[in-house]
Assembly symmetry: C2
């Protein structure tokens, strides 16, 4: 089976765009990704669109209306916070299946309208589908379990947010680009202990897009030089457990996906140069260091204390600023992660470049549940 490559990828600067429609927001990143590889929508053989809150509304086709209706197949997918990763994965699968030589994947979300209702300032849904405060409670509880088992401290959790906010000062596409000292994070409004408001992901509008091609097509188009190989694409859902289905076991789903991804790529955690993982809350990031095998059980607190996961450290995590500061437009996040890792593998990340990065990992987890992991490698 052919290898599949990301040959073009980009995202818009995340923000709040109440004056735009979802298809308009999606179209912007689609055009950026096409421009990134010097192609047009007429070169694309199919479109895979990820959007959560307007999932019934033919968002993919409406994006084509904005950028060119060429009659290509359009598949609209949704999978909670794994929506973008799922759209990317379906696009990748179609290329692997030999159905198409080159396709477009777009993830887009407008958070100010729709399913989750209004937001409480910097990103905390106050009401909506899942009920008030449920998500913060789940991830607070998961963090406190870690604290009880391993002695992880409030300060350690807070340092995740400090790190990601620092990273975002170097990312012009992040929603916020503001240094945020430890005292500020710890003294912010408490949402659900130990996560303060600055330890919760930012509700923003955004979109990201990727062009995926077979190796042959990428070579024919002269795009292999900047291309990024998809070494692993894995999707899992929760196994049965004595919990409400809506609330995933945030650990097992990721552990299983990570094991499968490493096996598929023939790589281990020691091979990974940078990770964009699902820091929907600061506590979640701590858990995922261990779930993804970046450190041993109980070592996550030390990882953040020692700066191993900061830019310049052993394995930088969320150099983009992460969901905590770059922002978290649900359906876009999975592909925005692909953009961030690809940009480092290409050596184009500027001030925040992870030096010598050759292999990177992306991770998302959606309530209800879906965990998506991709491993990307610089093309030879």
């Amino acid at each position: 089976m052919t290898d599949a490559y990301v040959v073009g990828v980009d995202m818009i600067k995340f923000g709040r765009f109440p004056e735009k429609s979802v298809p308009q927001i999606g179209a912007e990143s689609a055009l950026l990704a096409l421009d990134d590889c010097g192609l047009s929508i007429q070169d694309m053989e199919a479109l895979y669109c990820g959007n959560l809150m307007q999932a019934s509304a033919m968002v993919g086709q409406r994006i084509l209306q904005e950028i060119g209706q060429t009659g290509i197949p359009v598949v609209n997918v949704s999978n909670a916070c794994a929506t973008g990763a799922t759209a990317f994965r379906e696009a990748w699968a179609s290329v692997k299946a030999g159905l198409y030589d080159i396709v477009l994947a777009v993830g887009v979300e407008q958070m100010g309208r729709g399913l989750l209702g209004g937001t409480g300032g910097k990103g905390i849904p106050k009401e909506g589908l899942f009920g008030s405060g449920t998500m913060p409670a789940v991830f607070a509880e998961a963090g406190m379990e870690h604290a009880r088992k391993h002695g992880t401290t409030f300060e350690q959790f807070a340092k995740v947010s400090v790190k990601n906010h620092h990273h975002s000062t170097m990312n012009p596409k992040a929603m916020y680009q503001i240094e945020t000292p430890l005292e500020t994070v710890m003294n912010a409004e408490m949402i659900s202990y130990p996560n303060t408001k600055l330890m919760c992901s930012v509700n923003v509008d955004g979109s990201a897009a990727a062009v995926i091609a077979t190796e042959k097509k990428a070579r024919e188009l002269g795009l292999l030089g900047r291309a990024v190989k998809v070494c692993a694409s894995v999707l899992t859902s929760d196994r049965w457990q004595e919990r409400d289905l809506v609330m995933p076991d945030v650990n097992t789903c990721t552990q299983e996906a990570a094991a499968k991804a490493y096996a598929m790529a023939g790589l281990g955690p020691e091979d990974i140069d940078l990770v964009e993982l699902h820091d929907c809350f600061a506590t979640a990031e701590i858990l995922h260091y261990e779930n993804l095998g970046l450190c041993g059980a109980g070592e996550a607190g030390r990882m953040i204390d020692d700066g191993e996961v900061a830019l310049g450290g052993r394995i930088p995590v969320n150099v983009s600023g992460g969901l905590l500061s770059k922002g978290h437009p649900l359906g876009a996040t999975g592909i925005a992660n692909i953009y961030e890792v690809s940009t480092h593998l290409r050596g184009e990340a500027g001030e925040r470049q992870v030096q010598g990065a050759r292999i990177g990992m992306t991770h998302v987890i959606g309530l209800g549940s879906a965990c998506g992991i991709h491993i990307l490698e610089k093309a030879a």
Copy 2:
């Protein structure tokens, strides 16, 4: 690339189930399809779920909660009335890609709640996303264009409904099983000329499911005997046109998909033994005889007059009863079509069996737009 086979397939009897949830309705057909091939959810490697009106709500994962959470990947897709066909196609693509050996596709819809709002008795949406009366108007207009060009009569359009209602009397899974004479059809409440209420599709709840496997897996499991080969799977969207995007050109989208499907299968219309096509309105069925190449331009009226498309005729169309009498639960329809054609190819259709059927075609078209066509063939 491996061939992919439908090894298990079934649907529930369509009806109105306000007391059930969407996942419950979907789970019923999933279990029926698994039972059809003697397998369980633990044998499935992935789930592709099609649902339109609750597309944001992780319906696939919730179906697993009903029938067994095994940790498999779940992909939720939506594509208007092509939602079920798209879910089937993504499942098929994953098998073709070599990602999985055997997967489950489920399509489900509960029409009484959700996007399209309340229904006006037998199936006509009175309000909702697309505005009052818009769909009836579009398909009425398309029918009248055909009438102006080719002299097609009100009576000929009405005969489509008579035929499909007659077919449904032999289908125990159809919503209605009532002979409906021509006078009754023509004298029913006029919705949008020339379509009376009995010439509009029936809003029902329903689900259908299919198990798709590689040839190797089907053989290993001893399931090739009743299996049905997927010879072609095609999805198209509208090309640019001077119309509102929401309203597809009901003709070109289908014509393009049909041409691609015949090419992919290496077959022509003369090879097709039965067709389940998208009779969302009686006028639509007439148009699609020509769009699918079942007859030449302007010959559709004669086709229905001569009984060529009735059971026993040259090429029976909608032997299930079609959307006009079996019913049209949006996200389920595409897979229900696969069930109907497969049942004939297996020789298991009982009283309504198309004798000697070896090759069949399914067709759906969704507003906004997506056209899906599959060609199925009895396994050797």
